[in-house]
């Protein structure tokens, strides 16, 4: 059962199975297990579903089914949807700030700042969606080459443990903006802000399968994503050991990885271009001129 927190205490005290977010639906974890989430003092805050490799498999199937339509949608539409996510998060800013404060033990001001920055970041990457343009290059023949950034496809994200809301938003927003479908593993110690996001995505016109969230043991899950042949890229934030496992597991299928060990200050403005570059690959079209 979900422990009483200021966020949840209005709800009647009945058993609720904590869910994962797969294919636009709240899905029961395959194994039926949960993990208990505690605050920094060890007090029980709630539970999340314990995702396993089958849940990831289902999430990747859902992402694969969604990515075709999402990557072909106009950048303008993707921008509108990200703005809508930002607006809906903004409407629930107090609730999310409380959640972040209770989970991480941050001060009220810091928790509020994390939520505000998350909303800003959604707007920022939403605005980027139709501005991450390609280029026309000079080439050493008579002609030009057009370089077009395109979505990579299905991307796995092991989100940072710190800044549980902002870290997740900062990593998945650039991927969504550029037309990828995401399977994300939220912060392992503090996943409750991510599970609160399910209803935000549900009510923001995000097509089913574009965002999938699987809570659980981050490094083990990230390694499964890295080994999965149908995932085109994996982004990882966490420990050096977790990073090494992801890079090693990805070697068998030559997928792209973008891995980071150690904590990051997510409140600082990120190098958005670096994220967008990693979220896309470039298609070059050579256009030779005749006489």
């Amino acid at each position: 059962m979900v422990a009483a927190t200021p966020v949840m205490e209005a709800l009647p005290a009945i058993d609720r199975t904590p869910k994962l977010f797969i294919g636009g639906k709240q899905a029961r974890p395959d194994a039926g297990y949960v993990r208990v989430i505690v605050d920094p003092k060890g007090r029980r805050l709630g539970e999340v579903g314990e995702g396993n490799r089958k849940d990831l498999r289902n999430a990747v199937e859902a992402a694969r089914a969604a990515v075709g339509g999402w990557s072909r949608a106009t950048a303008h539409l993707r921008a509108q949807i990200l703005y809508y996510v930002a607006e809906n998060l903004s409407a629930r800013r107090d609730e999310f700030a409380t959640r972040v404060r209770l989970m991480t033990g941050a001060t009220a001001a810091a928790a509020r700042a994390e939520v505000e920055t998350s909303i800003d970041r959604l707007f920022t990457y939403g605005a980027w969606a139709d501005k991450w343009d390609g280029a026309v290059h000079h080439v050493p023949i008579r002609g030009i080459a057009i370089a077009m950034p395109e979505a990579i496809g299905v991307v796995g994200v092991a989100a940072p443990d710190e800044a549980p809301l902002l870290g997740l938003i900062s990593t998945i927003a650039p991927l969504i903006a550029t037309g990828n479908a995401v399977v994300a593993i939220p912060s392992e110690p503090h996943p409750l802000a991510a599970t609160d996001l399910y209803t935000i995505f549900e009510s923001s016109d995000v097509p089913a399968g574009v965002v999938n969230l699987v809570t659980g043991a981050k490094d083990a899950l990230a390694t499964v994503l890295a080994a999965h042949d149908d995932v085109e890229s994996v982004w990882y934030w966490g420990t050096a050991a977790g990073r090494a496992a992801v890079e090693s597991a990805s070697a068998g299928n030559l997928k792209r990885t973008w891995c980071h060990a150690g904590p990051v200050d997510w409140t600082a403005a990120p190098d958005a271009r670096a994220f967008l570059r990693e979220a896309t690959h470039v298609k070059n079209i050579w256009v030779p001129y005749g006489e």
């Binding site: 499964v224 080994a227 042949d229």
Partner: protein, 320 residues
């Protein structure tokens, strides 16, 4: 395949009293069917073996308006060689010479498919009676069957006139299927009942029985073009009729679910249903087929997962 050849279904005179006596309890059928996918299914090497079985029982199908000789030939190449060589070797099944059960195409592509499958022993099945609605003139439907047989089709998938079922005109249905069966000659006849358009399970059961009495070698659920295609409750009803027909006459009639079977897991559900309801003899290609196109790729992916331990991608397998 150790099973010996079976005599064809010669058919029987239509017995309207039996047909009208057939009733199906929909709730009971749905309840029984619902238990099948919820059981612990076969796992590990047994699962791999069942999936290989699934490939051998597949009518690899393309029935699209945009079919061309090129994609029919590609489908035939896939039918001869359904599994990547590295997987065949890793599974140790090179000696099986695994192929699919048949290739199923429109009449227009029968010759193309027959030529592409030459020497492989894989039969070509044709959908040849004004598929999918089956509403073209009767003489033309018979002519289409004869033309398909002449072009080399060894199996003919016919569609029944749904109106005969919906109006309870069992004699008309019997005569229609009987005439199709005669037009088929030595080619095997699979009767497509289009169960998604028959409204009730009782209609499905009665139509199954009439088709079998008229001499169908197989009864098949759907064209794949109806709103609802193969489902487990419908399958349960149809295989129970096959069982009853076998009990009454000693004749084996085959079953072919088609349409909407896309995943390896679904395929295993159907195989389990056949094994439980009719026994192992109905798991041979002469008595059971899947009508499918996307299913093969999913089976390949699951077999690759079994071999490598990693989840597989569809684009790493040759297209069917």
């Amino acid at each position: 395949m150790s099973a010996g050849p079976l005599p064809r279904n010669p058919g029987q005179p239509l017995d309207l009293e039996v047909v009208r006596g057939i009733r199906v309890n929909r709730s009971a059928a749905e309840r029984r069917a619902a238990t099948i996918p919820t059981r612990r299914t076969v796992k590990k090497q047994w699962q791999a073996a069942w999936l290989l079985k699934g490939i051998a029982l597949m009518d690899l199908t393309t029935l699209s308006g945009d079919d061309t000789a090129g994609n029919v030939r590609r489908l035939c190449a896939k039918a001869r060689h359904p599994l990547r060589d590295d997987l065949t070797r890793a599974l140790g099944v090179e000696s099986l010479g695994l192929t699919v059960g048949a290739v199923c195409v429109y009449h227009r592509w029968v010759e193309t498919a027959v030529r592409a499958l030459e020497g492989s022993g894989i039969p070509v099945a044709a959908v040849s009676t004004g598929f999918p609605a089956g509403l073209s003139p009767f003489a033309q439907r018979l002519e289409e069957i004869r033309a398909s047989v002449a072009a080399g089709a060894r199996e003919i998938d016919i569609v029944i006139t749904r109106a005969h079922v919906l109006t309870g005109d069992w004699t008309a249905l019997y005569d229609e299927v009987r005439a199709f069966r005669e037009a088929c000659g030595d080619a095997h006849l699979k009767a497509i009942l289009a169960t998604g358009e028959l409204a009730t399970l009782t209609n499905v059961a009665r139509a199954s029985w009439v088709a079998m009495q008229a001499g169908a070698d197989f009864i098949k659920t759907s064209t794949g073009k109806e709103g609802v295609n193969a489902t487990l409750p419908v399958s349960l009803v149809m295989v129970r009729q096959i069982r009853a027909y076998h009990a009454a006459t000693g004749v084996h009639v085959g079953y072919k679910p088609a349409g909407g079977i896309r995943t390896a897991k679904q395929a295993l559900d159907y195989l389990l249903l056949m094994k439980e309801e009719l026994g192992g003899r109905w798991l041979h290609p002469d008595l059971f087929r899947f009508g499918a196109s996307a299913l093969l790729t999913d089976i390949e992916r699951q077999l690759e997962h079994f071999v490598t331990g990693r989840y597989a991608a569809a684009h790493r397998h040759p297209m069917p």
